[in-house]
């Protein structure tokens, strides 16, 4: 600890000419900074106000600021070594705040930190961070310019190199001042070098992605408190994100905050299976639009910010948004762009149009006649809900019309009966509007939500359970726009509560659980299905699990849009699940069951069998 014995050396007196040069350079640096920063601030503030924005509740916002900014939770969790290196650079910046002010004050003999007294502790602390920061910068530079992971883009950024060099220069000059005598020529020179590095750094901030130093705390603090919330349309002329005029301040702020780390790309199921959707390029597309065309432009957004077909490759799994360390909300953006082209009729897609017409005409995405649903209800012996039962079992479209969904509903009904829980199904159900909602068809979504809400109110339903996480999310969250809906939970939540009484012994099956996006990321339900699975076998975890789960490829209406380009997302996931050596794959969503079930069937060798958590629970019932 040689540093501990040393003292930070000041520059001594500055000549009048030096002070003049300092003043001139200082003004130039601040002016350049302000010129850039105010232009960006103006563009953000000129964007449309966010319709549903409220600062309350403040507590979760403050908590997010504390964990995600101060403690760098998301930065570290996702990439531990790189994240920690970044955290040390960040913490060093924080530690240097007062030190830097004091450094500049020295020029006027107005220093307020005494290197012999109280200031010494701070200087020493800053020095420790400076060392850590230098090590971190060296590591990060190595990664960015030598290892070059593809998430960071094909071209190494010159701006990044400049900033890395300046940060290193700041740290080196700071540490060097401990090894020279107070007021010496060397100390004088070192002071100037440090000052010049500072003055060069300032105008670089708004010009590069280091703008996140200023905007990330704002963006993290202001982000919508609920995950993947789709804002209501504001007024008669709002059809979603059609032109620049529809971009909101939050969207603009987030576009400028993006630090281009590529975590969104690293987790995007579309990007990872050779499709054209790239969540990072999408956000940078919005930034480019604002820079070149501005927030008042009437140019269509789609095409400018991202290609039309790519926007419809999103499964709305939410991995991008979940991983983003600076709280960029990709989902409202993607759904907003879809709204813009669907609400205006611009989007022409064979299967997409078929889906919408099916929903318009039959109320279900598959276009099946209601009589098929009635036949299933009769065959499965499901009672109709008449108000006397505890629960209404919401079948959903998959539970009503899909053979796989039928099996899951039948299994769930058997478990409910075995536990003496009374339930009934509705005589008439329409699609919740999940696919219409995520594909941006607000008219259809509203019609379906309102029709269903009326049916439920008429039937006097208070509590519901569903086999489909998409139904649960849409009913519990998206329907709120149109009035209160009965409480609904996913069947795994109910099954977990039922306990183990009356259950048979566990088996030797090795069961790997696949977290459905809409259950884990959207609803935070992760322990309940695991508790149910653990009753019937050994639970295994795939590499990407819980909130880091990888999509099956069905969400966002894509189940109905026909063949994917590139590798099938479900195949990618099925391979990962099979690689755990499991004998069974447990899913908790009828869409996942279809996608993964199909993928597993096409795999070579003996693939694990796909089961729903309800089917595992049903097998546990003693005859």
């Amino acid at each position: 600890m040689m540093l501990l014995a040393r003292m930070l050396a000041g520059p001594g007196n500055l000549h009048a000419v030096e002070r003049f040069v300092l003043l001139a350079l200082g003004i130039l640096s601040v002016a350049l900074f302000l010129h850039q920063a105010t232009a960006i601030a103006r563009r953000i503030l000129a964007a449309r106000r966010d319709a549903n924005f409220t600062l309350a509740p403040l507590a979760p916002r403050c908590a997010r600021l504390f964990f995600d900014v101060l403690l760098q939770r998301k930065v570290i969790r996702e990439r531990p070594w790189v994240g920690l290196a970044h955290a040390f650079v960040f913490w060093a910046f924080c530690a240097f705040a007062l030190v830097t002010l004091n450094h500049l004050a020295l020029a006027l003999h107005a220093e307020f930190l005494d290197p012999r007294g109280a200031g010494r502790v701070l200087f020493f602390l800053a020095a420790l961070f400076a060392v850590a920061c230098l090590v971190a910068i060296a590591g990060l530079t190595l990664r960015r310019f030598v290892l070059r992971p593809r998430w960071l883009g094909a071209q190494p950024s010159i701006g990044s190199a400049g900033v890395a060099f300046l940060i290193a220069a700041l740290m080196v000059t700071y540490l060097a001042a401990f090894y020279v005598a107070e007021g010496s020529a060397a100390a004088h020179a070192i002071w100037w070098l440090h000052t010049l590095a500072l003055l060069a750094f300032l105008p670089l901030i708004p010009r590069t992605k280091h703008l996140h130093l200023l905007l990330a705390p704002l963006s993290v603090f202001l982000a919508h408190p609920r995950f993947a919330s789709i804002p209501p349309l504001a007024g008669e002329e709002d059809f979603g994100l059609v032109t620049g005029k529809d971009l909101t301040r939050m969207a603009a702020l987030q576009a400028y905050t993006c630090v281009e780390c590529g975590r969104c790309m690293e987790h995007c199921p579309a990007t990872n299976t050779g499709k054209d959707l790239n969540p990072k390029e999408l956000v940078l597309g919005v930034r480019g639009y604002l820079n070149h065309l501005g927030p008042h432009s009437e140019e269509p957004l789609v095409g400018q910010v991202h290609p039309l077909h790519a926007i419809f490759e999103c499964t709305t799994c939410g991995a991008c948004q979940h991983q983003c360390p600076v709280a960029v909300e990709h989902l409202p953006l993607i759904v907003g762009l879809r709204r813009g082209v669907v609400n205006t009729g611009e989007w022409q897609h064979k299967q997409g149009t078929r889906l919408f017409l099916n929903l318009e005409r039959t109320g279900n995405p598959l276009g099946r006649p209601h009589s098929e649903r009635e036949r299933f209800i009769e065959r499965a012996g499901l009672p109709f809900f008449d108000g006397s039962q505890e629960l209404c079992l919401w079948l959903g479209c998959m539970g009503s019309y899909d053979p796989r969904g039928h099996q899951i509903v039948t299994a769930l009904a058997a478990v409910l009966r075995a536990h003496g829980i009374t339930f009934g199904v509705l005589r008439k159900e329409q699609c919740t509007g999940d696919a219409a909602r995520r594909l941006g068809n607000d008219l259809l979504f509203q019609q379906l939500a309102e029709a269903n809400l009326a049916t439920l109110a008429q039937a006097g339903v208070r509590r519901m359970v569903s086999i489909c996480p998409h139904c649960v999310q849409t009913i519990a969250q998206d329907w709120r726009e149109f009035g209160p809906s009965p409480t609904i939970e996913h069947h795994t939540e109910l099954l977990a509560r039922l306990g183990t009484a009356g259950l048979g012994a566990t088996t030797e099956e090795k069961i790997v659980y696949h977290d459905p996006c809409y259950l884990a990321r959207y609803r935070g339900v992760m322990d309940e299905p695991r508790a149910v699975i653990a009753r019937s076998g050994h639970l295994l975890e795939p590499a990407r699990t819980r909130k880091d789960s990888f999509c099956c490829g069905a969400g966002g209406g894509l189940f109905f849009l026909g063949e994917e380009s590139g590798e099938r997302i479900g195949m990618n996931r099925a391979r990962e699940l099979a690689a755990t050596g499991a004998t069974q794959v447990a899913a908790a969503c009828p869409f996942c069951a279809n996608m993964l079930g199909d993928a597993l069937k096409t795999m070579d060798g003996i693939a694990p069998q796909l089961v729903d958590v309800a089917e595992l629970a049903a097998r546990q019932i003693k005859p």
């Binding site: 009729g345 149009t353 039959t362 068809n441 008219l443 259809l444």
Partner: protein, 253 residues
């Protein structure tokens, strides 16, 4: 090109139909209605012709008050304006006389309609209207394109045969479902539709006095007969009997 599209509102496909107390019509109480599907295709053809040729698309419906919903839907999907002729249940000739009167009044170049309605299924209305107007017509249209002196229409015949017909304007074309893709309803369409004109007329306003040419005396649901016949005997005999029945009784071979 000024195009009138005749649109009929029919009971929704999933609806459970009941006969009314008088026993001569469908009970409308509690029924949900939708646009007759071939008419939806007729509207789509009209919009495509307007996109190619310019002009105006007028949605026209003859029926009770509820029919206005079908017209609002047509406006939302792109029709420029709508005319609703208030009337009770009319027969094919009655509807055709109203259609002809409006086409004359509007001096339209083309009357498009679905081939037949999904409820009554007369399949006569557009043909009768052409007769009343004294203009050429064609039916079973799958494709309609502008031609040098009018329209070129591809008709769908039996067994995959197609026939091309050229006809001068003014004309009447009855459209078969499935020739082109229907478009979905959009939020913008619905909002724009609110500002479009929907004119309501009475039959008398057209100077027509309609006497029914056809009277429905009684209407009954088809009797449900479930006749399962077990064929007995040796496999060869059963197969031969099955083929005979499929060919001679079920007419599917």
């Amino acid at each position: 090109m000024k195009i009138v599209v005749a649109i009929r509102q029919v009971p929704e496909r999933e609806a459970r139909l009941r006969v009314n107390a008088a026993g001569n019509a469908i009970e409308e109480e509690g029924l949900q209605f939708a646009t007759n599907e071939p008419d939806a295709y007729a509207l789509e053809h009209a919009l495509a012709l307007r996109a190619a040729e310019g002009g105006e698309v007028i949605a026209l419906s003859v029926g009770p008050e509820r029919t206005a919903n079908a017209l609002r839907d047509a406006l939302a999907r792109g029709a420029d304006r709508a005319i609703h002729v208030l009337a009770g249940e009319l027969d094919a000739l009655g509807v055709a006389r109203v259609l002809a009167a409006i086409v004359r009044q509007e001096n339209a170049d083309l009357l498009l309609a679905g081939l037949q309605s999904e409820d009554m299924g007369y399949g006569q209305t557009p043909v009768l209207a052409a007769g009343l107007l004294g203009v050429p017509h064609t039916t079973l249209a799958l494709e309609i394109t502008p031609a040098e002196h009018g329209l070129r229409v591809f008709r769908e015949l039996e067994d995959g045969w197609r026939q091309s017909v050229d006809l001068p304007l003014p004309a009447v074309v009855a459209v078969q479902a499935g020739g082109l893709a229907l478009s979905y309803a959009t939020l913008m369409g619905i909002k724009r539709a609110r500002t479009k004109e929907l004119r309501t007329l009475a039959v008398e306003d057209l100077g027509l006095a309609l006497e029914p040419a056809l009277i429905v005396e009684s209407l009954a649901p088809p009797a449900r007969t479930k006749s399962t016949e077990m064929l007995q005997g040796e496999p060869e005999q059963v197969a031969a009997a099955l083929i005979r029945k499929l060919r001679d009784e079920a007419h599917v071979l």
